[in-house]
């Protein structure tokens, strides 16, 4: 499972980096359409199957010639694919760009994968020869790194200066997704590295792998929730972005954010009939200020609900590690506070009844259902049931046994009751 998650993160890492490139290049042009930006962004994710093929080729091919031959085939396939898809989804002006993007992207990935593979071979050789001078190298596209976040910041800054809100938003979304992914990946990798050093080098015994990964996983999830909270101020400040268009310095093109919106409103999305109909209805009235506040409150409430739900889910899942014997043979106990267990205290706080309270409540309801007046405190269960007229019924007998056990702490004794 962990290996699969890591593989997914490694693919997502490449996709997130590459998917923003085409929209970023497109926005530099003089004319641009909003839906084309989103299409280019989406088409960037079609790199995925080809990335998987190249990784497979790197693993399976023993010879270099075989590997490069395979990569050339994949590259040709990618270009052909790009040509086919481009004909369907993209205008003429962008098709060649998309094909070039796929070709160059594949080439970059091929070369990087080859370098990583050679590096792994050299590492194996150095390990066998016990070469202490060998040093580990990090490749950018091999696995997620925290510094790659700067790439999205750069795209954002460029988009801000080219007055392209779509690419700005895409950069922010990619940044958040990448951050969440890189933290998860780093946690898995660093923990595996730490445990492997302890297991293989230091020969530490009785390592509780499951507990470390399990508890750490929920730790990381809690941290990621905290990071998500950091996104709220950014969402709320989206309308207040200050755009600039440096194209006007070159082409004397004056553009402002309002103009961008107006241009989009007047020209619409090509032949979209809905927008044309909306435009024909006249000027759109401005919403009152309190609508914005309701919207913000709603966003906050949704985030808060997700947060609380996630925290409660994490807390419940962590109960698996609360007590018992773990995989290393250690005895795990919950610490008792006073005379009550922590969990039973929390149970009462959240309104969950113990078994005893449930039985008492059930009995009380049963008696009140069949008896109008309130039973006196000195009445025995038998007397209460006799007056209520349920002493001989099957339900009454069953509840009587349970209630006597709970009230007196031992099984009911008919002889004893008789003597009384």
């Amino acid at each position: 499972m962990r290996k699969q998650i890591k593989n997914v993160c490694e693919c997502l890492h490449i996709l997130l980096i590459f998917s923003i490139i085409l929209p970023a290049i497109y926005m530099l042009g003089m004319e641009r359409e909003r839906d084309i930006i989103f299409r280019l962004y989406g088409l960037g994710y079609f790199l995925l199957p080809f990335i998987l093929m190249i990784k497979r080729a790197a693993k399976s091919c023993q010879k270099l010639v075989c590997y490069f031959a395979g990569c050339i085939l994949i590259l040709c396939g990618a270009v052909l694919f790009a040509w086919g898809i481009g004909n369907v989804f993209l205008p003429q002006s962008t098709r060649f760009g998309y094909m070039l993007f796929m070709a160059l992207g594949m080439l970059t990935i091929t070369l990087e994968t080859y370098s990583v593979r050679m590096h792994q071979i050299r590492r194996q050789k150095a390990k066998e020869e016990m070469d202490s001078t060998w040093r580990q190298k990090d490749y950018t596209l091999d696995k997620p790194h925290l510094y790659v976040c700067l790439w999205f910041v750069l795209i954002y800054v460029v988009a801000l200066n080219f007055a392209c809100p779509e690419v700005c938003n895409l950069a922010v979304i990619n940044l958040m997704l990448y951050l969440l992914m890189v933290v998860s990946y780093q946690f898995l990798e660093k923990t595996e590295e730490y445990l492997s050093i302890n297991d293989e080098v230091c020969k530490v015994q009785n390592i509780p792998y499951k507990r470390i990964f399990g508890i750490g996983k929920y730790f990381v999830l809690s941290f990621l929730l905290l990071i998500l909270l950091a996104w709220i101020p950014t969402i709320l400040t989206v309308p207040y972005r200050e755009y600039r268009d440096i194209r006007k310095w070159v082409w004397e093109w004056e553009v402002s954010y309002e103009e961008v919106l107006q241009v989009e409103e007047t020209h619409g999305y090509g032949e979209d009939p809905m927008v044309a109909m909306m435009a024909s209805m006249g000027e759109i009235k401005e919403l009152p200020f309190w609508v914005d506040w309701i919207f913000y409150a709603l966003v906050f409430a949704i985030f808060a609900a997700i947060l609380v739900g996630a925290i409660m889910w994490i807390h419940n899942e962590m109960r698996d590690f609360a007590r018992g014997i773990d995989e290393a043979g250690d005895v795990v106990e919950t610490l008792i506070v006073g005379d009550e267990e922590i969990f039973s205290v929390r149970k009462q706080r959240f309104g969950v009844k113990t078994d005893e309270e449930r039985i008492r409540r059930e009995y009380r309801r049963f008696i009140r259902k069949h008896r109008k007046d309130r039973p006196a405190a000195y009445e025995t269960p038998k007397e209460m049931e006799s007056i209520a007229g349920v002493a001989e019924t099957s339900e009454g007998i069953a509840l009587h046994e349970k209630y006597e056990y709970v009230r007196y702490g031992e099984k009911s004794n008919e002889n004893y009751v008789g003597r009384r």
Partner: protein, 380 residues
């Protein structure tokens, strides 16, 4: 407004790191204890690690490390590195308000006093980029007593000697030490007739009483090893013999004392009697039946000593044995030593000399003043 996002993220990360750094060590305790206060060398013991987290914040992973003197082997020795000490490290993972108990089996190979005084506790930040550590004091110790060994040959020699003494000494009955009831013989005085027992059985029965004079033994343990070639295994065997013999004689009800050519230290568990009676510089107990003396002896034998604390064998001769049977345990045999021992024992009594020796170096010692018990010891 990506700056706001970046600042928010940085603030969240910093808050998390700082929060964990400040809070992880609060209400976090590690206790180490041995399952028993003592074991004998060669036996197994149990070390119990208890890690407690008394707060809501989980701590994961956490490394517990400690060190101990060499001489104890952990059953899973792979994560214990051995250099001048035995260093052990274990990894745990704790949720909030949780306790984990781990029991480690240890094999006690060598006698000694094994203490653990300090525990180091470490944990890591979320992505393992920082390591946080702290130390905690703990105080647990295990006494590994000298290995028990077969002393049947020595006990046989002791019994032979006791038998000889029995026939030589005057028979004095202690009227307060009732021994048994038997049939009347013509040699018995009439005052010893037990009339109640006689009435019950219909025959004359008499009481018998134990001897006034009790058997006493005095062990002299020589731990000197000043030769060029150190023979530690012979010294260890001497110590094992002394401890085993002491235990067996005490169990038989014989009063036994010991004298070692070691400087008496200022340790808390030293016998007050030994300080009172012997104004000497060496470790000694006068013969007695007290079990406490055995515990003190075992603990003394379990401690390590330096060569400068060892006194010459001649010092042992200053410790008189009185009417006890002297048993000398010494690996250092020579003609000169034989004469010294003969002089020490004197002509009025007989003693025993236990000589541990290596294969191929059997001592040719004989005397009419003492019985020689030779023990061949394999070098470990």
């Amino acid at each position: 407004m990506i700056i706001i996002l970046l600042i928010s993220i940085v603030v969240c990360m910093a808050a998390w790191q700082i929060g964990y750094f400040l809070l992880w060590k609060k209400e976090f305790f590690v206790t180490l204890s041995f399952g028993q206060p003592y074991v004998y060398a060669g036996e197994d013991a149990e070390l119990i690690e208890v890690v407690e987290n008394h707060k809501k914040l989980p701590v994961s992973p956490v490394e517990i490390g400690f060190r101990m003197r060499k001489g104890i082997l952990f059953k899973d020795m792979e994560n214990a590195s051995v250099s001048d000490f035995v260093y052990k490290r274990d990894i745990f993972s704790l949720l909030g308000n949780q306790r984990i108990i781990r029991k480690l089996n240890v094999q006690c190979q060598k006698r000694g006093r094994y203490e653990i005084k300090e525990v180091s506790i470490s944990t890591f930040s979320l992505l393992h980029e920082r390591k946080y550590s702290m130390e905690q004091q703990t105080d647990t110790r295990l006494y590994v007593y000298a290995k028990r060994t077969d002393v049947t040959a020595i006990l046989r020699a002791v019994e032979n000697l006791l038998g000889e003494r029995e026939s030589k000494r005057k028979y004095l009955e202690d009227p307060f030490l009732f021994a048994a009831i038997r049939n009347y013989t013509i040699q018995d005085p009439m005052k010893n007739i037990n009339w109640k027992a006689s009435a019950k059985t219909g025959e004359l029965m008499v009481n018998t009483y134990a001897s006034l004079e009790n058997e006493k033994m005095m062990l002299y343990l020589d731990v000197e090893d000043r030769g060029i070639l150190k023979k530690e295994h012979l010294i260890e065997d001497s110590i094992s013999v002394a401890a085993s013999l002491f235990q067996k004689l005490l169990a038989k009800g014989i009063e036994v004392g010991i004298c070692m050519n070691l400087k008496a230290g200022n340790r808390e568990n030293e016998n007050r009697e030994s300080k009172k009676q012997e104004q000497t510089s060496f470790f000694a107990f006068q013969p007695s039946r007290k079990r406490e003396t055995r515990i003190l002896l075992e603990q003394k034998l379990a401690e390590e000593w330096e060569e400068k604390e060892v006194l010459p064998f001649e010092k042992l001769m200053e410790c008189s044995f009185g009417d006890a049977i002297p048993v000398i345990i010494s690996k250092n045999f020579s003609e000169k030593k034989k004469q010294q021992i003969e002089e020490f024992i004197g002509s009025g009594t007989k003693g025993i000399w236990v000589i541990p020796y290596e294969k191929g170096e059997m001592p040719q010692i004989a005397s009419d003043r003492f019985t020689v018990v030779k023990r061949e010891v394999d070098e470990v």
